[in-house]
Amino acid sequence: MLTRSLIAGLALTFLSGSSFAATEITWWHAMGGELGKKLDEIVAKYNASQDEYKVTAVYKGSYPETMTAAIAAFRAKQQPDIVQVFEVGTGTMMAAKGAIYPVYQLMKDTGATFDPKAFLSAVVGYYTDADGNMLSMPFNSSTPILYYNKDVFKKAGLDPEQPPKTWEDVESYSKKIMSSGAAKCGFTTGWISWVQLENFSAWHNKPIGTLQNGIGGMDAELTVNGDLQVRHWTNLKKWQDEGLFQYGGPAGGNDAPPKFYSQECAIYMNSSASRAGVIANSKDFEVGFGMLPYYSDVQGAPQNSIIGGATLWVLKGHDEAEYKGVADFFSFLSSPEVQADWHQYSGYLPITEAAYKLGQEQGYYAKNPGSDVAIKQITLNPPTDNSKGLRFGNYVQIRDVIDEEFQNLLAGQKSPKDALDSVVTRGNKLIADFRAANG
């Protein structure tokens, strides 16, 4: 009896399901934890808003894991419609012309309303080809900012409302903080590669590679061993020896946040998307926010910082109906309401002007001091060739090379100049390998 009614129930479900036959769209992403929950909420909202398409979001692990999974799936012809790829994977995705469906093309083919100018140029610049066409859909973009401990600043006799503006400030504040015993260390940072080399260079309007940091073509080469970069790494080594700076580890720098949360280090540089985490973990003290420091004697600094985070790439090999759905979903994702909500919740940048305006109208920035530092910093000046972003093949490995050479520097095995020279030689070898494999 029970089985029979179960079967009847199942049959009914299938029948009713097939009568609506919503087109299924799969989206593989790398947003775990709180961000993943928010993402699921956005997808559910989209699915409820219409019944033609059904988006299924699947969490695939870390950024590299998600990207590798999508590539393996593509080779096995089981690829998702949409995959979220981190910014350093851009070079690899772009070169795979037979595998990706450029977003500008998709929007044109499906006739979706789409205005690339609505997006912040500092964000889109990273993901457009040489002709200015948008290749992927920006979703979560962030930029590094400076966090500081106001309580420690007060204890050290510094003005808690004044974040350090220049590297000279960072040095003198750190010394004061340490000599007064307010904290054990001056500053720490996440992402050596992203914050203390790539963004550092853009912020001072210095190139890290030829051909607009690689955006101009695949023949580009790294040039990160410039005088200013050498000067900065020399200082970081000196400050580490003096205890002013503490290293937080390679890649994202897993050891950096605890140093700031435990009030061991008073200043901390990391992604604006760390904001929610910083606030949640700093219950015992008040956090201040500031822009990245610069060297005051450098002409043209501060310029503007560059982004990190991820965009959504569309993969080839599906039918037209699904792509129509993808275009529709993208329009939904970039709508001011969805963007403003996502940005305010996560600390990622609002990727459209409209989303930023909406936040201003809602009074969000007035209520949450520091929440607009990132967007102000990234739009401080119109991006130059040195500050649009960067694009090199095999950049995922080049980031590892940067970490390794920085470790060599801090361990005293290489001089700053030698370390950065090695980044250039080893990096250029990786770029050449990529060119050979994709030529």
Binding site: A251, N394, A411, A437
Partner: protein, 294 residues
């Protein structure tokens, strides 16, 4: 000599029995291994859109790649160190326990425990214990004046991964040594004791030589373990850092292939690893099956 011989009525039946095992071997071992060999002669982009045959170029590149040579060197330190430490400690624990009259079963059970811990969990645990900012051991080491920092100092990092990788393997070795010790006739040891040989002398002249087949077997097994099964430990602790000082061969295959998407080189590296494991297995079969004689 007694031989067992089963006669099958149907000539196909034995093959039918063999089929599942053969299928598993072919699908899960021969096929992927063959793929790796083929890929090692190719250069290919990540998506498999353009493939070119490059002959032995991937192998030749390895010989000139300083990071690969470094990885060889690192493995040549790491694998013997893990083997020595885990086999040595396993032996020490087994001998200690063998002398114990009371409660030896409890100690034995406790010593076997680590083997049940997943390598990744073990890795995380050691990572916490040794964490420079929140770990217990750096705190204690600081008290004796040593500044522990495995995130920057290659030697510290190597010590960390060797300890983390050896820890759970000690249990395994301990079990084998326990069994080996029980197989040694008590009368022999008693006779030596009556002749006036002290415990140390008895160990080195009787116990250890009689354990040599076990020791040799474990040395090979542990070497293979250290070279191939320690991936989770490295992944959970140092990730090959700092500056590739703990990037052992098997981890480099993963990093180059799965993170870097450099499939040709990664395949060539796994073929080299395959050759090493085949060699070790041959050595093991040749000598261990023949038993070590004295």
């Amino acid at each position: 000599m007694q031989t067992k011989r089963t006669v099958f009525g149907n000539r196909l039946l034995p093959y039918a029995f063999l089929f599942p095992q053969l299928a598993v071997t072919v699908i899960f071992f021969l096929w992927p291994a063959g793929q790796a060999v083929i890929q090692s002669f190719q250069r290919e982009d990540a998506f498999g859109l353009s493939t070119t045959w490059v002959g032995l170029a991937n192998y030749a590149d390895l010989l000139h790649d300083p990071t690969y040579l470094n990885s060889l060197k690192v493995t040549a330190i790491f694998a013997p160190a893990v083997t020595l430490l885990s086999v040595g400690l396993g032996l020490v624990f087994a001998v200690c326990l063998d002398r114990l009259v009371r409660g030896s079963r409890i100690y034995a059970a406790l010593l076997v425990w680590p083997y049940a811990v997943a390598p990744a969990v073990a890795g995380i645990m050691w990572w916490f214990l040794f964490n420079p900012s929140i770990g217990l051991l750096p705190y204690l080491l600081a008290a004796v004046g040593y500044r522990w920092d495995h995130s920057l100092q290659p030697t510290d990092a190597m010590i960390l991964v060797v300890i983390a990788a050896s820890w759970k393997q000690v249990s395994y070795n301990f079990l084998f040594f326990m069994a080996g010790l029980q197989a040694i006739p008590k009368s022999m040891i008693e006779a030596a004791a009556i002749d006036g040989a002290g415990p140390v002398k008895r160990f080195f002249t009787i116990v250890f030589p009689l354990l040599s087949p076990t020791t040799f077997f474990l040395a090979v097994i542990n070497l293979v373990y250290a070279m191939f099964d320690t991936f989770p430990v490295i992944h959970a602790t140092t990730g090959g850092n700092p500056a590739q000082s703990t990037n052992i061969l098997v981890y480099k295959v993963f990093v180059d292939g799965f993170i870097g998407l450099n499939l040709g080189s990664s395949a060539a590296q796994s073929v080299v690893l395959m050759a090493i494991v085949v060699t070790l297995t041959v050595i093991q079969f040749k000598w261990v099956e023949r038993k070590v004689n004295y």
